[in-house]
Amino acid sequence: MGSEAVLRDVHARIEIDTATAPETALEAGRRAGAIDVRFPGFKDGRGYSLAALIRESGYAGELRAVGDILPDQKDCLERSGFDAISPDTPSPRWQRAGFTHAYQLGIARGATDRPPVYRARALAARKEQVDALNREHSASPPQTIIAASVDAFSGRIAMLSSFGVEAALGLALLAQVDRRVPVLFLDTQRHFPQTLTYRDQLIAHLGLEDVRILTPDPAEARALDSDGKLYERDSETCCELRKVRPLGAGLEDFDAVITGRKRAHGGERQSLQPFEFDGERVMINPVAGIDPAGIAALYRQMNLPAHPLREQGYASVGCWPCTAPSAGLHARDGRWPGSDRSECGIFDQARTDRAVAARKRAVRLIG
């Protein structure tokens, strides 16, 4: 991990040409602060793929196209990741404007970035669907919201469950609708043993058929938390390692996620809608509007087993190092006690995106 910083010389400019082998180009990306890609002829399109590879590997320095290139190729160059252009032959025609839209995923940076049309359209449609669902279900009971969600997002919906003190309700309602809907559980490896026992008890009790356990990447865990005490030094990074990143990977196949978030949790959650769109996914909060008394009533009515820590005064259970019994106003006051944190970050889309990007960069690049 540390070798990259040692090798890279931000002041170095390396020139490669379009015939450069991909692994050599990537090496340039690891060593230099600026890269020139020389086009010996404008019809030689290898430079576009090399630029894309270099950018995808996480290279953030200058990437300049030089040589025999035409103004007519400006859009292709920029969208493949070049941020500087130095043609052999200058021409006023380089002042051209790019296309307004892009049909494909590009690697353009800054102002020339355009989302691929297929995603732009889909995300707009997804947002519209969320608005429509909220209009229809502003006062619907949890059961109806879950049924409508499973129907609307069939095959691409999962429930995210902490198997914490209030989790059984959502899981039970889901099981009534469809036991095959995947349930994601983040095994941070820092859970209370009671939570794990409770998880297995609930799975059996409710007949859940597809519980997926997400664990931290072992290599990342070794690198970031070699002594196992990262939580003491930096609880945010610990959450990043043990929750945000594994969830980012686990959610890859899902467009909609059912959460157990409730307005009564306080903090940012006080304004929760049943359906929320985070710019990428639909977050569904079927029990958002139910207060603690309502939850307790439903537990009794549905005869649901309680979390073993419930009777020890925990109103919200996370990892053992960062959870205390809650005596405060809101259920989540016992999370990260003594800090101003109340969220681990898994509901923060920007953090999830960064985590996914970091994971992709870590993949070996082939030639």
Binding site: L70, S80, H101, A102, Q104, G106, A125, I366
Partner: protein, 543 residues
């Protein structure tokens, strides 16, 4: 039928404006011909023997009546009153002036059409089964995926300056009908173990100088992974293929040089590296594209019939069963006796538009056999369709028969050709029909190319002719045993080259031999396999 939204409209009109500026830059000298040529090619503009040629894309061979009328209008206004439907399901105009082409492209854009990437070293117009959405044997309609590929491949920043041209074909049924085995990438919709559909992926096929049948990279690819997988194939090809020799720059040579296993491993590794949500096809977009192509409604009326001469024969030969009750697939042959294959006059185009609109929900297809199709004809109206086609000179009852000959434009038009194709096809079609050899030849394919680039698909013809230039004279090589669809095969050369007249006689002799020797239900490849090349050799060359 696909529909443009505001994004598509903006893309295409910006592209028209870009080309207008490029033409001006060429006329003013700001662009040299060497610089302009690849740019005009990417807008479908060739310089042929007599004039510029404009190839307009017909997306996966699908168009509607309104679009067909604009194609007719362009033929009248800017050409000599006709157009040529190609083996890649497009249309070519042989006579437009360069200075008129931006205006033509604007008229195409008005009806959601374009000429983008119909030539040049980029991803070309995707082709598919002309019976898509209508065929009885279909696993799934391939057109939503063709439309997705059309958009994704349009102005792709990374894949616009490839080593060589790149062609993708998609089929939704076992019978293929899109010749996926001889495409750079061939995709087949198949049903997986759990019942959902996905793609079987083939790559490395092609015709031309070195004909190759594609290798299978994958038995099943989830549909929403299509763009990631295509990107992986394209990137491996773009980076690794030879660029210093145009005869070795196609993906088929790369697959062969690397070996199918190593190539597949490289693609799979690249795919694993790049796949993710950004490249995944969102369910909403897949649903939007799928909604463009609804199944036609059933028609609760009996099929129509009349006693007019020729109707029964035309019904038997040119009409195919449809998956929806009360509908029929009507193939309109553009192969009249001694006609130029694939040519249609502006009036004929208008006539087809009218018939499709009146009797078939307005939809029309172009086939790689250079015919037209009314895919969703109302079977009750077959007599009216027949009469309309007859009035337009389009009722030739030979769809799929020997005289349904495929040809490239050849040396009559094409700058690359070494010999003429169309006149040979004309003489051959007359000979077959006049000598009664055309009867009962359903499925027998004859295809003619005027040069080794094989636009006339001669490699995959049961009986193929390739025109070559031998010391200034046109000579034709005869190949036997090629197959286009459902397990492609490359034909083998039968013997020495033939003069044009000899070529016509040789092909008719092969047809006669097949008709004499075949067993009941046997296709040409079966007969050839059973009796071997010798009887054909003797029929063509004597002892």
């Amino acid at each position: 039928m696909y529909r443009y939204d505001e994004i598509d409209r903006t893309m295409v009109s910006e592209r028209v404006e870009e080309f207008r500026e490029q033409v001006e830059a060429r006329l003013s000298g700001a662009l040299s011909e060497d610089q302009f040529k690849p740019l005009r090619l990417m807008n479908g503009v060739y310089l042929q023997l007599h004039a510029y040629m404009l190839r307009a894309a017909i997306p996966y061979g699908t168009l509607n009546a309104r679009q067909m009328r604009v194609l007719a209008h362009i033929a009248r206004q800017y050409d000599k009153g006709y157009g040529h439907f190609t083996t890649r399901q497009n249309i070519q105009y042989n006579w437009p002036a360069l200075v008129d082409i931006p205006e033509i492209l604007e008229q195409l854009a008005d009806v959601e059409m374009h000429a983008i990437q119909t030539s040049g070293n980029c991803i070309r117009n995707t082709t598919t089964d002309p019976f898509a959405g209508a065929a009885l044997d279909e696993v799934e309609d391939p057109r939503p995926w063709c439309e997705l590929i059309r958009q994704w491949s349009t102005l792709h920043p990374e894949f616009t300056f490839l080593p060589r041209k790149f062609k993708i074909a998609v089929t939704g049924s076992e019978a293929d009908r899109a010749a996926i085995g001889v495409h750079d990438i061939g995709l087949k919709l198949v049903r997986g173990e759990t019942g959902e559909t996905g793609f079987e992926v083939h790559a490395g096929g092609g015709q031309g100088r070195t004909p190759r049948v594609a290798v299978k990279l994958r038995g099943f690819l989830p549909k929403n992974e299509l763009l990631a997988y295509l990107t992986a194939i394209m990137r491996v090809y773009n980076l690794a293929a030879q660029r210093d020799n145009i005869y070795k720059a196609r993906i088929k040579i790369l697959v062969e040089t690397m070996g199918p296993d190593a190539f597949t491993a490289e693609v799979e590794a690249m795919y694993r590296q790049i796949r993710g949500r950004d490249l995944a096809v969102p369910a909403e977009e897949a649903a939007r594209l799928t909604a463009f192509f609804p199944e036609p409604s059933p028609v609760d009326r009996p099929e129509g019939a009349i006693n007019a001469p020729g109707f029964a024969r035309w019904r038997r030969i040119n009409v195919k069963p449809h998956k929806v009750p009360g509908r029929a697939i009507v193939v309109i042959s553009l192969k009249p006796r001694a006609g130029a294959p694939g040519d249609a006059t502006a009036d004929q185009m208008d006539a087809v538009a009218d018939l499709a609109e009146r009797y078939g929900d307005g939809e029309i297809r172009v086939t790689k056999e250079q015919n037209l199709v009314i895919p969703h004809a109302v079977a009750a109206h077959l007599p009216a369709i027949f009469e309309g086609l007859e009035a337009a000179g389009l009722a030739t009852a030979n769809a799929g028969l020997a005289s349904d000959i495929v040809t490239c434009p050849g040396l009559d038009y094409c700058n690359l050709a070494n010999a003429r194709s169309i006149p040979v096809a004309q003489a051959l079609s007359a000979a077959l029909i006049d000598r009664g050899l055309d009867e009962d030849t359903q499925g027998l394919t004859i295809k003619i190319s005027g040069c080794i680039n094989a636009c006339g698909h001669h490699h995959i013809a049961n009986i193929g002719l390739l025109g070559v230039d031998k010391k200034g004279e046109e000579v034709y090589q005869l190949t036997l045993g090629g197959v286009a669809d459902n397990g492609a095969a490359i034909g083998k050369i039968l013997g020495p080259g033939l003069t044009p007249d000899e070529a016509v006689e040789a092909v008719t002799a092969c047809v006669a031999m097949f008709r004499r020797e075949r067993r009941s239900g046997e296709v040409f490849a079966g007969t050839l396999h059973r009796i071997g090349f010798e009887p054909f050799k003797e029929a063509v060359y004597g002892q």
